[in-house]
């Protein structure tokens, strides 16, 4: 039954937590390696209520949202353009194939040199790290539009703009959204990595790095868990948004 299916996830999670707590209390692992969930929970509560953990959480969220937002806007615009105009794609292809596979870590020192240590650098690196996926999906989406749909627009004298807004955009939406979804996951990772590695301005990444360095392991774990919470929460929000935009597509696919 559906209820059993849904509960099974929660039950399994609880079982894992109990096992974890037991292993920690039995001393099978040291607190420095793997603190007990209770210790982590206590650290998290203390840091949020008496420390700056909540502020760092919001700071990371802000960077994520802005960096990802830039990736979305630039990625979809560029992707649509490249999908629509062959010549543009042919001209840009070498550049895209060069930059796309670059790991963010490799790009980070260059970004710091160019933009210094600050939010501008963070936004740029996050956008760079997550934008390519958006671009490629948007481009493929436009390329793959059924020519019959385009011809339909033409036989009804749809102008360039009308074709774009009434045909190209909705037709390319499902695949583009896939790209947006994957890019969001990347963006969360990149945000935390940037904060951790550059160590300049806090956020959850900076917090984790600091706590690890000071060997405050429960606090570091608390930070890590909050990263997971952020990723999960923003993923769910995105899912709701995507669902409302693509209701027709979900129904069509039988979901």
């Amino acid at each position: 039954m559906k209820i059993i299916q849904r509960l099974s996830g929660v039950v399994f999670l609880l079982a894992l937590l109990v096992a974890w707590e037991t292993i920690a209390r039995l001393g099978l692992v040291t607190p420095d390696q793997l603190p007990a969930p209770s210790a982590i929970a206590h650290a998290m509560a203390t840091e949020i209520l008496q420390g700056d953990l909540a502020i760092e959480f919001l700071r990371t969220t802000r960077r994520l949202v802005i960096g990802y937002g830039i990736a979305v806007i630039l990625g979809t615009l560029a992707g649509f353009a490249l999908g629509r105009w062959r010549l543009l794609y042919a001209a840009s292809e070498p550049i895209i194939e060069f930059f796309r596979p670059l790991p963010v870590i490799a790009v980070l020192p260059v970004a710091v040199l160019l933009l210094g240590l600050g939010d501008a650098m963070a936004y740029s690196v996050i956008a760079f790290g997550s934008g390519w996926v958006v671009l490629l999906h948007a481009m493929d989406a436009v390329r793959g539009i059924d020519p019959v749909l385009i011809d339909t627009g033409r036989t009804f004298q749809a102008s360039g703009f009308r074709q774009f807004s009434t045909i190209i955009l909705p037709a390319a939406a499902p695949q583009t959204f896939t790209g947006l979804r994957v890019a969001l996951g990347n963006a969360v990772i990149v945000t935390v990595v940037v904060e951790l590695v550059s160590g300049f301005g806090g956020g959850l990444g900076g917090y984790i790095g600091e706590e690890q360095g000071a060997l405050r392991t429960p606090e570091a774990y608390a930070g890590i868990i909050l990263v997971a919470v952020l990723g999960y929460g923003i993923g769910r929000l995105f899912g709701v948004f995507e669902g409302s935009m693509l209701r027709w597509h979900r129904q069509m696919m039988g979901r």
């Binding site: 011809d151 339909t152 036989t155 009804f156 009434t166 045909i167 909705p170 597509h249 129904q251 069509m252």
Partner: protein, 257 residues
């Protein structure tokens, strides 16, 4: 009046040039129902697309009411063979049908007119359905309703009933004739089905292949209104059938250049 004159279409791809259509010449007076038949690959679809402005001809002219056709003219609507792919899956039926006029009139007016044509093609009650929730025959009706809502002068149909079962095909043929006879439409109907061509038309143009040329222009002197049983029992139907079959099956290589 539709005038096609010296129409040519050639493709120059990978070495040898291929001439699909060569020197197509015919006129269609208003309100006539003309079918275009020919063997597979005779360029029937290409011809229709050139007239509709969807494919650019390599030469020749198409005149509508003495004006040369450039791009996709307002008075012409093309109905696709692939009806399921031409309807927008992100719009419900009523918004699909309203598409051609929604820019020109108010939202309410567009919906009202869409509703009217949805009724005319026998889809009343299905306004809120998505295209993929409709059967093949219903989808093609929807596509026709959408074409008609614009009240075009010329309806160009590319094997619209080819992918449907025989019963549905008969129903849609009669529906189309009903609509045609009550409006000022001129219809160009491409089909591979000789019986369908005879049943529907005032006149059948036969396209030879390689390259495509008009090799025959046969008037269909069967009484109207047509009937699926009566008309097909008519002796004249069989004679026309035989004549057209011979024209298609026999390779039309004897065309003088």
């Amino acid at each position: 009046m539709l005038e096609v004159s010296g129409l040519r279409k050639a493709y120059s791809g990978s070495g040898a040039a291929r001439t699909i259509l060569d020197n197509i010449e015919f006129q269609v007076p208003e309100r006539q129902f003309v079918s275009i038949i020919g063997a597979s690959g005779s360029g029937k679809s290409t011809l229709l697309r050139c007239i509709a402005g969807l494919t650019e001809a390599s030469g020749g002219t198409v005149l509508i009411d003495k004006r040369a056709v450039r791009g996709t003219p307002e008075e012409v609507v093309y109905v696709f063979q692939e009806y399921s792919r031409s309807l927008f899956p992100w719009r419900r039926l009523i918004r699909n049908v309203a598409y051609p006029i929604e820019e020109a009139v108010t939202k309410d007016e567009a919906a009202a007119q869409a509703r009217a044509y949805i009724g005319k093609v026998g889809l009343a009650g299905f306004e809120a359905y998505y295209p993929w929730e409709l059967s093949g025959g219903m989808q093609q009706r929807a596509a026709i309703a959408r074409a008609l809502v614009k009240q075009p002068k010329y309806l160009l149909m590319d094997e619209p009933f080819g992918a449907l079962d025989a019963q549905t095909r008969n129903q849609l043929e009669d529906m189309l004739l009903g609509i045609w006879s009550s409006t000022a439409l001129t219809v160009l109907f491409v089909t591979h089905d000789i019986d369908e061509a005879i049943y529907l038309s005032d006149r059948v143009l036969v396209l030879g292949s390689r390259p495509g040329r008009v090799i025959a222009d046969i008037p269909i002197d069967l009484p109207r209104p047509r009937d699926q049983i009566e008309s097909k029992e008519n002796l004249r139907f069989s004679e026309l059938r035989r004549q057209l079959f011979r024209l298609i099956i026999t390779p039309a290589v004897e065309n003088a250049t």
